[in-house]
Symmetry: C2
Subunit: 124 residues, 2 copies
Amino acid sequence: MFLQADPYNMNCPSREILDLIGGKWAILIVCCLQQGPVRTGELMRQVGGISQKMLTQTLRNLERDGFVERISYPEVPPRVEYRLTDLGRSLSELARTMEQWVVANYATILDHRQRALETPSDHA
Amino acid sequence: MFLQADPYNMNCPSREILDLIGGKWAILIVCCLQQGPVRTGELMRQVGGISQKMLTQTLRNLERDGFVERISYPEVPPRVEYRLTDLGRSLSELARTMEQWVVANYATILDHRQRALETPSDHA
DNA sequence: CTGGATCCCACGCGATACTG
DNA sequence: CAGTATCGCGTGGGATCCAG
């Protein structure tokens, strides 16, 4: 977070990464590309529920930041593939780390949340 | 992400964690608490730019999910401290991992972004 | 000092229709 | 098939006022 600054603030470099990760689709797309290049339509299908707009928009951002490469074949009908760069693969590994953390701690979180519901604490 | 499902989707458990992390303030607060318990007002100051509302709201969520403990001293004027639980410390370690990733890759990202600006690619 | 309640805006995102 | 443009909503978040 580069959070050792004073004060801890929103203008640290990692904020952009957090926004990227926190975005609704970027991580899902990156994970879809882990196995190799994927065509646009196939991405649409693999990422369930994403709209055309968000797919393109997210891909553009990922491309701009160097996580994804766009490969356009000069054919008709058009054919486009997206594939992870080294940086993108690095990000996908970070995603796997986060996934492992979730796997390890998800039950604990749900459990605590459940008890919080049953015993609502009043902070008066 | 539990993303190995078919299709990759938004309804995986890790989504909640991504939302938490992607939220504007949660991670910053967790990092502030790494060194030990902190009082509310002190948190306000350490996390630059956060509003009262968001501070309280984020703390409530963190408390509900078991990342943070609220310690209220029966004094007047009131005094409240927040401190990380074991789960919270675990999350803060994940945050440090992410931070390290950013440190290692931030220059590359900025560089690529800069070149993308200079050489706008048209996906027509 | 801590924290709740309201009002309000920005923007992330979805739905739809349209081009090559 | 791939991508763009437009419209509209839901909600995350800020500002402000109020209470114990």
